[in-house]
């Protein structure tokens, strides 16, 4: 035991001196507290947040670090507290729970830390939330599908992760919209967990007891790429594919392009199909936008409200358009799906455009390098 103590004290002394030597600079400290890592959406968002802190306007004024809490709210509470201890001025958060972080956030605010969330919300009034209107998103996706089916047909609905506010709000919006269309019948409703893999498993289960012939359309918070791919595998011709409303992955948007469009690098089911679809998504670029607002507030005193609602992407077959290189200027001119040569992963989220963030282009989302 004595040796154990001795070793620990030595280790302690060594690490303390190490940390002591890296003294503070005059840059402000900004942190990103993520919840999950390991899905495309979160990965891209983190890249773009980083790119924002590296852009010309801010890179000399801010020191940036990322931490991941996993799915555990307790851990995120500790994490945010540790960031405050470490002298944070800005904390951008992907909150695991809208309410569980309230106390720690309140404490951080009282120490002058700017707290910004993206995609999800924190109800504590001193936090700033950058997100889409989830109820409206669910409503719009359902309305598009109902109109596409002329108000009549059997549909399958894939919800998100049960028990989250995003899922509950979107589902509420969708179900309410369907009330106006008595001819629309939901024949199966199952959690898709916002995952292409889960959607595939669940759809396979549904197809064990229902046939494609009996399904007229699909509404999915995520998973339309998989739904069109599965129709392809079942041998359904492009023109006969059932419509799917929802989600904004690059694979899905590519499938929405006219079937005769020539796209370099397209292969398998990651190809133009003229798939009838409506595509929205909570944009992963919101993280970078939240960071920009936080930097502007902290460095230049630009005031922001509690809620910053970003516009809902509204992509249909009429306005889906392929980008050549994915620069901000090109996206500002109206393109909204990236080339499969540059984005090999069909599950990658295509919604990286925000008119307020000229720092962010395809490069920022892929490699964390800003446009300017």
């Amino acid at each position: 035991m004595r040796n154990f103590w001795k070793a620990s004290v030595l280790a302690l002394a060594a690490t303390t001196s190490l940390v002591g030597s890296s003294h503070a600079q005059d840059k402000i400290k900004a942190f990103l507290s993520m919840s999950y890592i390991g899905n495309d959406w979160q990965g891209e968002a983190a890249m773009m947040v980083r790119a924002m802190t590296l852009s010309a306007a801010y890179k000399d004024k801010v020191e940036f670090e990322t931490q991941v809490a996993g799915p555990n709210a307790q851990k995120q509470i500790q994490q945010i507290n540790a960031m405050v201890q470490a002298g944070a001025k800005i904390i951008v958060v992907y909150p695991i729970s809208p309410t569980a972080l309230n106390q720690v956030v309140k404490n951080a605010c009282s120490k002058g830390v700017a707290i910004f969330t993206y995609d999800a919300e924190i109800t504590e009034p001193c936090a700033h939330n950058v997100h889409i209107d989830q109820v409206a998103a669910g409503k719009r996706a359902a309305e598009w599908l109902a109109e596409e089916l002329h108000g009549k047909g059997n549909i399958v609905y894939f919800s998100g992760v049960p028990g989250t506010s995003t899922d509950t709000q979107r589902t509420e919006g969708s179900l309410k919209a369907f009330e106006k269309y008595p001819g629309i019948k939901i024949i199966a409703q199952t959690p898709g967990m916002w995952s292409q893999a889960v959607t595939r498993t669940e759809m396979s289960k549904i197809l064990a007891t229902h046939d494609w012939k009996d399904i007229d359309g699909v509404l999915g918070q995520a998973g339309c790429y998989t739904i069109f791919s599965m129709q392809d595998e079942a041998g359904i011709a492009d023109k006969d594919k059932k419509p799917c409303s929802g989600e904004g992955t690059n694979g899905h948007r590519l499938q929405m392009l006219p079937a005769d469009a020539k796209v370099e690098g397209a292969s398998g089911t990651y190809r133009p199909m003229g798939a009838r679809s409506f595509s929205y998504a909570s944009p992963p670029v919101s993280g970078a936008y939240a960071m920009k607002l936080a930097l502007e507030l902290t460095l230049n005193g630009k005031k922001v409200g509690h809620d910053v609602i970003v516009p809902l992407p509204d992509i249909t077959n009429a306005n889906v358009k392929l980008c050549k290189e994915g620069s901000f200027a090109e996206m500002a001119a109206g393109c909204n799906v990236q080339s499969p040569v540059l984005v090999a992963n069909p599950g990658w989220f295509a919604e990286i455009y925000n008119s307020e963030t000229p720092e962010i282009g395809l490069n920022a989302a892929l490699t964390g390098q800003p446009e300017m």
Binding site: M1, F4, L12, T15, V19, M34, I37, G38, D40, G43, E44, E65, Q67, V68, P71, N72, A73, Q74, I77, Q78, Q79, N81, A82, M83, Q85, A86, G87, S97, T99, A100, L101, N102, Q103, V104, N107, P162, G163, S165, I186, I187, A188, Q189, P191, Q196, A197, V198, T201, S204, K205, I206, A208, T209, H210, E233, G268, T269, A344, N345, P346, G347
Partner: protein, 649 residues
């Protein structure tokens, strides 16, 4: 305890500013939920059981409190007490099935987890509710303003309760039952009553944890408990309580819980990349277990033991067994006694198939006529679990447990996708290489269990964390590989009318059946599971067989990783997570004893078919997710109760 003190000093030393009182409050309340929940889990583990319902109970109490708490003191006291009693009631429910009906705790609490999880979602499907500030302050505020956090008082109270209980007859009975249930019974202890009490007490502690988490987060969230489960068991192991029962204590678990939390803080302060955090946690787990093992004299000279173990065992290799029990048994075979010999086995495995038949009947009646494509779909969807069940099942038959399955699948799938990158030509080297990776993971697991004498749960849990880190590092957070056309065809195409993987899985099942029931390897596995000492004496190389069992499990996980990548077209991080609990559940539902030695692969396949057909039935409806979980839990419970009815006669 010293470990904890060092960690506190480390956090203090490393922080840019010295810890203030506010940080002290946060540190003490941050680990409170975990610590109290770990106390509950410890009690169940001391009796020799295993409780998966902890997280679900915490979430239910949290949601009930957040939706009912009023602003007046009376209401707050009432609901806090009600929360604890609710936990105790669920504990009693578990205890009834475990103690009275003598069902296996792991599968009972798994069912409870689903049922309670569903109920919680029914109560509150969106995080919210109302928690008055006074309620929060009482538990996680300050007992004396700016001087003494309430959380310390709560921990002290929990420790006091535990020490009181430990020194009663009931407390000693818990240890006695965990050490040797039969001996305890022979000594005149009422095993049933004491076990019931232990589960109820554990439930009450989960209830307290639920009250505390409500105070700490000031909100209700149905998902609050789920991520706690693994941490609870890590804390228990860190605290020195042994799985299998009889040894350890709740104070250690509390220290373990706080140590875990401080490790997170240290990683934060040192700014260790998030990718490494699960690796570090895994290593800490192994280090703590080794340190704990060190204190027992028998293990201190493990190197000597290790060398002895590597030396050839008497009676292995070319040598003749000392006692040839196994071959004698096979001499007694006679065709006419087939039913007599296998009657017992049939009784164990029939409930799973009977329930499967019932689900099929319901599907046919209410959903759609059972077509050829229905069975194709069921077998396709079952294929992953059928393969995993062979690995997990063999490990369990040999008396172990493999918790590294999720990230072995994840890492292997990501490697497969990354190396294939859509090329069929790469299949020829990718598949053997990925299988080699899976086998190596199993090999390391096996060596950890055999050479270092660590509990299988610790080794495989730590391995799971390390693999998660490796997968994140390799993929840099987002896997970008994808399956090749041939692999995709294998999982989604058609060959002679059915999906190719279905042919494969049929062949695999036959292979598994033969492996476990008709080969020397299979007989050794059963021998070890029944009694490792007896197996060793009768000439089984226990160590080599144990390592082989984990290698088999690693290989099975690797196969599933490749198949899942083919099925989805690409691999995703965490795609193996949903297979861990089902892989254990199907093994137990199929009639296998979780402590090893008894079970049959056919039964496990029955378990897989039952679960898959049930999920398929539910997926094709508009039954809400909450009700699904409840139905799922009830069916699993029903299946094991049915199993018990058959086995008791």
């Amino acid at each position: 305890m010293a470990f904890l003190a060092v960690l506190v000093l480390l956090v203090n030393g490393l922080s840019t500013a010295p810890l203030g009182y506010f940080d002290f409050v946060y540190l003490s309340s941050g680990g409170l939920t975990l610590a109290i929940a770990a106390v509950g889990a410890t009690i169940v583990i001391l009796t020799g059981g295993f409780d998966l319902s902890a997280g679900a109970v915490i979430a239910l109490v949290n949601v009930v409190l957040a939706t009912h708490l009023g602003d007046d003191l009376a209401s707050q006291v009432f609901w806090a007490v009600a929360g604890v009693l609710l936990g105790a009631a669920i504990g009693l429910f578990n205890g009834f099935f475990v103690a009275v009906l003598r069902l296996q705790s792991i599968v009972v609490t798994l069912s409870t987890m689903f049922i309670i999880g569903g109920l919680t979602l029914l109560l509150l499907d969106i995080p919210g509710g109302h928690v008055p500030e006074s309620f929060s302050n009482f538990f996680v505020g300050s007992a004396i303003d700016d001087l003494f956090p309430s959380a310390i008082v709560v921990v002290a109270a929990v420790v006091a309760v535990w020490l009181l209980v430990k020194n009663t007859r009931f407390g000693m009975a818990i240890y006695a039952i965990g050490s040797d249930q039969d001996a305890a019974k022979a000594a005149g202890l009422n095993v049933v009553l004491n076990k019931l009490g232990a589960y109820a007490l554990a439930g009450a502690f989960y209830g307290i944890a639920g009250v505390v988490v409500t105070a700490q987060t000031a909100t209700g969230d149905a998902l609050v408990g789920e991520p706690l489960l693994l941490q609870i068991f890590t804390a228990v192991v860190l605290g020195g309580t042994l799985f299998g029962g009889g040894r350890g204590g709740a104070v250690g678990s509390i220290v373990g819980a706080y140590s875990l939390m401080l490790i997170v803080n240290i990683l934060l302060v040192l700014n260790v990349s998030a990718y490494y955090s699960t690796v570090v946690e895994g290593c800490v787990l192994v280090a703590a277990a080794l340190l704990g093992a060190w204190s027992t004299p028998g293990v201190r000279n493990w190197w000597t033991l290790f060398r002895q173990r590597l030396a050839p065992m008497p009676g292995t290799g070319q040598g003749r067994p000392l006692v040839s029990l196994i071959s004698q048994r096979s001499d007694r075979r006679s065709r006419s006694a087939w039913l007599a010999r296998n009657g017992e086995t049939i009784r164990y495995i029939s409930p799973a198939f009977a329930c499967f038949a019932i689900v099929l009947a319901i599907t046919a009646l209410f959903m759609a006529p059972l077509s050829f494509s229905y069975f194709n779909s069921i077998l396709l969807l079952s294929s992953f679990l059928i393969i995993l069940a062979l690995g997990q099942g063999t490990v369990i038959l040999a008396g172990g447990l493999d918790l590294s399955i999720p990230w072995t699948i994840g890492l292997c799938g990501i490697l497969a996708g990354g190396w294939l990158h859509g090329s069929d030509a790469a299949l020829w080297w990718t598949i053997p290489l990925v299988l080699a990776v899976g086998g190596t993971i199993g090999l390391v697991n096996g060596i950890g269990v055999v050479a270092f004498r660590l509990p299988a749960i610790v080794v495989t849990l730590a391995m799971n964390g390390i693999l998660q880190g490796l997968a994140l590092l390799y993929s840099n957070g987002t896997p970008d590989g994808f399956a090749s056309p041939a692999l995709r065809w294998f999982m989604t195409g058609r060959f002679a009318g059915i999906t190719p993987v279905v042919w494969f899985v049929i062949a695999f099942a036959i292979f598994g059946l033969v492996l476990l029931s008709r080969t020397p390897f299979g007989r050794r596995v059963y021998a070890i599971g029944n009694n490792p000492r007896a197996a060793r004496l009768s000439g089984v190389n226990v160590d080599r067989t144990t390592v082989a069992v984990y290698v088999l499990s690693g290989l099975c996980s690797a196969v599933v990783g490749i198949l899942l990548t083919g099925f989805g077209g690409q691999a995703s991080l965490g795609m193996g997570d949903i297979y861990l609990l089902p892989s254990i559940a199907v093994v137990v539902i199929g009639g296998t004893l979780i402590t090893g030695g008894r079970g049959n692969y056919i039964g496990m396949i029955g378990g897989v078919l039952l679960l898959t057909s049930l999920q398929t039935l539910l997926a094709g409806t508009t039954v809400p997710p909450s009700m699904r979980e409840i139905i799922y839990g009830i069916v699993v419970l029903f299946a094991v109760v049915a199993l018990r009815e058959r086995t008791s006669h």
